[in-house]
Subunit: 890 residues, 2 copies
């Protein structure tokens, strides 16, 4: 701990956040860059002073008072104004500023320095009596409440009394006289509650205000906030004392906001709004219509030129687009705030490209300014940002983009509607593999259950279909084909629109905008291509796609995928012409009968693979053998039970058949199918299934002109002997088909169970590659059933700060991440040339991609529409960790 | 690799298993202990010779032939007999002997040395022409088949021809002449197939036989066996050449088996059977009735005395009860085999106690002779070992003991029958928490699904109720209340008996024996108590019990439990008077309504805890707050769906109510409840439930005279913040009730998710203890749903040697064990006084207990009836690892 308790803004910098708090460090940095005249001056009392104060039972540390007095003196000298002056008084704000923002939790006092004399000075300086007296009464109110704990109600009551006296309704109707009367009442209130006179001495005001801010750190609200947000109690808060400037001091004053470039398109011209003779809140409140920043040039040409220079300076200093607030006080331009500008995807790629062209940034720096997560927006239609609409429900934004159309409740109806050219939104409580056909046909998907990683979300995201899940306000009744939400009922064919970017659902016909239809978009697309090209140069991670169909595969290749990291073969059995065959196979009681049923599926599977190989033109294609439990191909059990009950009562002709189906479904159904008879367990129990699939892969490979690179993946391995047996099976079929391991195909495994990570060295002896199935690894390592928990306790857990994000969105590093690193490590120890990839949903999540880069993986695989995100995120990971010694090398 | 290829038996020992194979090492050890005259002499050709032979393309290594010739010469000198002698010829056996036993896979040749001359010598020596010629023809057959690959069919055909010639039916009807004719035919067969004469030279016979044994190592059958059993191909087999001795050489010859003590009771007198003038196979074949070993004293007093001495010597040498085979050849006693005797529990404890009393063993050595797993047999009735019965089905022996009675299909029926004093066996496809009432009422439990760790198995074992699970031959139809098995149908009220010790099911009224009714059992019980007392002195691990009722708790204390390691509070809500209240709570839409329903459960819970505290008399009681997903308290969904469908068709009066129930059940049901909304997730979503339970615990504690030690356990923690929040809840209620943490109660967590193990250091900051829930940890780490997989692929996995035992029976060390060790380690790093226990089913499994000892845990907790097992197993672990440096100290 240092002995210095107070820092002038000109002494600090953005690196002193712990000592000066976030606000203090930021204003100091801006002062450093722009000079002391451009930023309202002031000083910061350190967090250490607060800590010392708390430790000493609410006593200021020795020397602090003197340092504050000296800093105040310097402030008065610098501004040429004095606190309490009756001509043009110095007023200051006294604000808290903790290391982490705690919005609204700590106290603030504005207009400090007001007293019976300076109120007159302010009136003179602003030529606005009412403003001066209103400021005074506001200061009295805030000061009394904050520093002496006088109940806000008492002040409100006094205001109400005066309004009643004067017969007016609104605060704004109180004239200067009324405000003067209120000032008297407030002073009386202060006396009454504190037994002291309101301190006219601004030094005394300042001392009390600083104590009040310190004290607010240990207030109940703040403590509760810190507990919930897990901010340590012993950090303390800094206190910032800053000159107040006024944009409402007449025609040469004003306030505004300015961006260093167009914040919507990214075009290289500053943009923004300003209002003459106004304070900052007037610009954003909407009470007056602000004017375009360009018009400021005529009104205050000097200040305008200065502002333009400052924007350039700030952009260069921070190396990014800036979003600023400023005030002009009697011709003098003050910068109040600057921060990196939030921007939509098009502005992000445009800025990145231009910044390099302009020599502002190096390519790698420019790449770091892009928020990879947002890039999908460049590929889909979205709600018109200017549209107004009534939100009837909000769910989880599961796949970005806007969609609208008639409500349908079944995949079948969606397909029929699409055939008739109608736009539909498929609405279901949740979805399963049977619904996938409907995903292609629908414009959007809406579910009341699930979450960001539920089946609907995964599939929709992979297809680029907008999707909202977990819209739990919607009560969806499939039987009656209606949705109830509050008092409303929405039926089949009714209009609905969903915004997959923010999770909103509306019944209004919101206009959709297609970014590619915008003529300006040509420039954006060029910039996008340029930035992606740089990303490819920089990244070490490969980027593949998860794709089950040739259409998905082609789309992904267009977007830059370097192979297929996961083809889920089960999706191929869900098609309408195949499901009966699949079901017949499952219902077979003997191996021979199963083989017969499988023989019919073989040529169809072969076609599937030929389509994929064709689409990928010799790039690697990882094919996972059948993974899901077989009952996924059978009807839903409760529905079937009800159906059979009805058939029994009605003595239906097909009762026998139905009862057999029910019996099989009951026998095959499992308590916890996620942990049941699936993955390679099926391959071991029913080798004929995997044999058929491997034959289909081999034959498809032989049918290609350009030899493909099939990578055959065995799912759900726990024990090395499982992969050993399954590898034997594959190689045996390979021999039969005349193809050779390594040369013509490779065999690997999905690592998706914790046990597999512990014995990865043994498993690697039989695997040419590992692909981490982080979805299932998350389910097992955390004991979270994805479909069950996303809509149930995950939202509550986020609210209570138990978790920050769903572990299905961003990889859980301490648990799942640990397992991935362990398996990567011991797997490579055992087999140094082991190829490592990841094909869970995390493969498209930027934070997770950074982790996979660090873990030394070779590639990530993600949904087609997330391929650009992954390319950029992989580049960013490589840039951030360029100088790290890789953990994998260690 | 050494240069010595051949070892005489007198040169080897039991430690040379790798070089001499199992059989060679054992016979050498016996020779060493008893001297060269007591064991038929011989020599072993090493496994290394076999390896060299294989490497050199079926060529004997240099020097081997000479060493064999020398060894044979020594053998002939030692025995005073010569191969091929026409007086009293030496005959030898040539047997394989691999490092691991491969029963039936490798070749053996007996009676080697037979030829046209020595057959006469053997006839003379045994005064038995027929025996000599039969031995000759058997040798020809075996030698021709084994060493020259002549098809066995050809020999069988020749036998059939001779029988037809002579007009006899059986092999045994062939007289000496017929056998002589057969010898001629066999020699002709040999010539025909090999183009060579049958070798009359015994040296040549020996050379060919040794090659044949070597070659059998690389035969297809053996290779397949090794692949399945994962025995390395490059181990090779040894070859043992041993003098054959004959117990059928007249009145001073004979064969027998002898135990060093009574193998059934453990009483300290040798027991066994013998037959004069007979070979070993005659004793065990049952063709002649053997005589008690005591009678041998009169017949061959010298040999008898020698045998008694030898039994003592062997017992002392091996430090355990011995099970031996012997032959007397013309008055000379030969010991053929000795091994540690298999014995039932009563003999095991009796021997252990007596061996110490006699000074044969130290206490710790004696403890090591007891098979802990078997001890439960001392506590339950069993099928009479002598009973004959027809087995109609065999399942998994899930809880030991025999039970019989009328078949009932529901818990309700079991309870009603018990009230009427009828004995019943509860038969169901599987069971769930709703059936627990019926477990108490039934004599035994039989299920067609599940496995050794299914719900039925766990609960039955905990209660000491015999149980057979996974009897998959039984088709149980609950609707028609019948069991179909093959052609039979068994209905309600029909008689059934089950043997939970070996998994057999029968319809016969098998007598049950209660060991405690045996007057001799008094002695056994005393020995049992003594042995358990020694175990308690030696073990470091504490032993607690899993118990949910005062009755279980009392039983466990009687059996030595030192506390309750797991009380599952949910079982308390399954009782008939409580389930409606629980259901009302779940159906409540608001927190207040839930609180109201819970208020009714509070006094009942308090009573539950008072009962437990009372039973445990101040010993620690670990109480787990509600863990299972709430839908476990609601009806089965498919059944309910069918029920509602019926109600709809019939327009039942209670349709509305049923539909509401269906809606709630559907909403609450989960795809994978194991990974769903349960454990502390419930506590966070519905804190009022845990609040009620904690109030009940605290109030019960206050109501006790003797202060109890409640340990409140939070289940299913993943994140440190979960336990932090739940600890806060407990302490808050504690404050309300005026009780203090640590002093009056402690708070800990169940470690049952992989993630929790990785962050155990953080979790430990809020936990006074960890209890490993290894059942759920196995389910998640391996992705094995216990109820689903035990009956489905686990048996197939065992058959295919992917796993040796169910991971729910014995802890999976590489996966689950790793997690336990990690969590124990980092948990203690963070909190050195952290108490560590384990309360999964593994807590009662001896192998797992050894692991937990090594992992540094403080205690194991198991079902009441397994407490004695755990006490002994814990002692054995401490003995085995007495000199290990503990991993936890490292």
């Amino acid at each position: 701990m240092s002995d210095k308790w107070v820092y002038d803004f000109s002494e600090g910098s953005k690196d002193m956040r712990e000592l000066l708090g976030g606000k203090g460090a930021n204003v100091a940095e801006m002062t450093r860059v722009l000079g002391a005249d451009r930023v309202p001056a002031g000083f910061t009392i350190t967090t250490e002073a607060c800590v010392a104060y708390m430790k000493a039972d609410q006593t200021e540390p020795e020397g602090m008072a003197d340092e504050v007095a000296e800093a105040l003196e310097r402030l008065q000298e610098h501004t040429g104004k004095r606190l309490g002056d009756d001509d043009d008084p110095l007023l200051v704000s006294v604000r808290s500023g903790a290391r982490e923002s705690m919005p609204g939790m700590l106290d603030t006092v504005l207009n400090l320095g007001m007293n019976d004399r300076s109120v007159e000075g302010l009136a003179k300086a602003t030529e606005n009596d009412r403003f001066a007296w209103d400021s005074y009464r506001r200061f009295l109110q805030m000061f009394g409440n904050v520093s002496r704990g006088i109940d806000g109600e008492a002040f409100e009551q006094a205001i109400a009394d005066v309004k009643a006296d004067r017969g007016v309704e609104e605060d704004t109707d109180l004239d200067t006289d009324a405000l003067k009367a209120l000032v008297d009442r407030f002073k009386a209130l202060y006396k009454e509650h504190t037994d002291e006179e309101f301190p006219q001495d601004p030094q005394e005001q300042l001392r009390l205000a600083i104590r009040a801010v310190f004290d607010s750190w240990t207030g109940d609200r703040a403590k509760e906030y810190r507990r919930i947000n897990r901010i340590p109690d012993d950090w303390g808060t800094a206190v910032n004392v800053q000159q107040m400037v006024f944009g409402n001091k007449g025609d040469t004053s004003g306030s505004g906001v300015a961006f260093s470039r167009d914040e919507v398109t990214g075009a290289p011209e500053p943009s923004g709004d300003f209002l003459p003779n106004a304070q900052g809140e007037d610009v954003v409140s909407g009470a007056r219509t602000p004017r375009d920043i360009a018009e400021m040039k005529e009104w205050l040409p000097d200040a305008y030129e200065q502002l333009m220079d400052i924007l350039k300076t700030l952009e260069q200093h921070y190396g990014d687009m800036q979003d600023t607030e400023f005030t002009v006080e009697e011709g003098q331009l003050y910068m109040l705030q600057t921060r990196d500008a939030k921007r939509p995807a098009q502005a992000a790629v445009r800025f990145a490209r231009d910044a390099v062209d302009e020599g502002l940034l190096e390519r790698e720096q420019a790449l770091m300014t892009v928020d990879a997560e947002m890039l999908t927006a460049l590929l889909v239609k979205t709600f018109d940002p200017g549209a107004n609409y009534e939100v009837i429900a909000t769910g989880v934004p599961a796949a970005p983009g806007g969609a609208k159309g008639e409500v349908v409740f079944t995949a079948r109806d969606a397909i029929d509607a699409a055939a008739e050219g109608r736009d539909v939104v498929l609405v279901r409580p949740d979805t399963n593999a049977n619904d996938v056909g409907g995903f292609h046909a629908a414009k959007g998907i809406l579910t009341s259950l699930g979450g960001k990683a539920s089946h609907a979300a995964l599939v929709a995201r992979g297809m680029g279909v907008p999707c909202v899940t977990a819209a739990s306000e919607l009560k969806i009744n499939l039987e009656d084909k209606c949705i109830r939400v509050g008092e409303r009922t929405i039926g089949e064919g009714d209009f609905i629109a969903i915004n997959g970017t923010n999770g909103e659902v509306t019944l209004d016909d919101v206009p959709l905008v297609d970014p590619t239809e915008d003529p300006a978009f040509d420039e954006i697309l060029k910039a996008f291509e340029t930035v992606l090209g740089w990303a490819d140069d920089v990244r070490r991670l490969g980027v593949r796609t998860n794709a089950d169909t040739p259409a998905d595969a082609r789309k992904a290749r267009e977007l830059g995928a370097e192979g297929i990291g996961l083809c889920r073969t089960e999706h191929m059995f869900m098609a309408e012409d195949r499901q009966p065959k699949m079901r017949r196979m499952i219902m077979s009681g003997t191996r021979d009968a199963r083989k017969e049923a499988l023989a019919e599926l073989l040529p169809l599977q072969q076609e599937d693979f030929e389509g994929l190989f064709e689409a990928m033109k010799g790039l690697p294609v990882t094919i996972r053998l059948l993974d899901p439990p077989l009952h996924e191909f059978l009807p839903n059990l409760p529905d079937l039970a009800a159906h059979v009950e009805r058939a029994r009562i009605e003595v239906s002709a097909d009762l026998d058949e139905l009862e057999t189906l029910l019996e099989t479904t009951e026998r095959i159904s499992e308590e916890n199918p996620m942990l049941g008879t699936r993955g390679c367990r099926l391959g071991i129990l029913y080798p004929e299934i995997y044999e058929m699939q491997v034959h289909a892969i081999m034959r498809a490979a032989k049918a290609m002109d350009e030899p493909p690179h099939p990578e055959i993946m065995i799912p759900l391995v726990d024990y090395e002997h499982e992969i050993e047996l399954m590898r034997e099976l594959v190689v045996r079929i390979g021999d039969e088909e005349g193809l050779h391991e390594i040369e013509d195909y490779t065999v690997g495994t999905m690592i998706e169970l914790p046990r597999a990570c512990f014995v990865a060295d043994r498993i690697a002896k039989f695997a040419d590659f590992f692909s981490f199935g982080t979805n299932d690894l998350t389910q097992t390592a955390l004991g979270f059933s994805r479909d069950d928990v996303e809509s149930k306790f995950v939202p509550v857990y986020m609210e209570r700060k138990i978790i920050e994000r769903s572990p299905f969105e961003t990889i859980d590093k301490p648990g799942v991440g640990w397992l991935v690193r362990l398996a990567a490590w011991v797997g490579r120890e055992s087999r140094p040339d082991l190829k490592l990839g990841i094909c869970g949903e995390h493969g498209g999540d930027p934070d997770s991609i950074e982790f996979f880069h660090m873990a030394g993986l070779d590639y990530v695989s993600c949904s087609p529409f997330r391929v650009p995100i992954a390319r950029v995120a992989a580049a960013q990971a490589a840039i951030i960790h360029a100088n790290d010694r890789s953990w994998a090398d260690a």
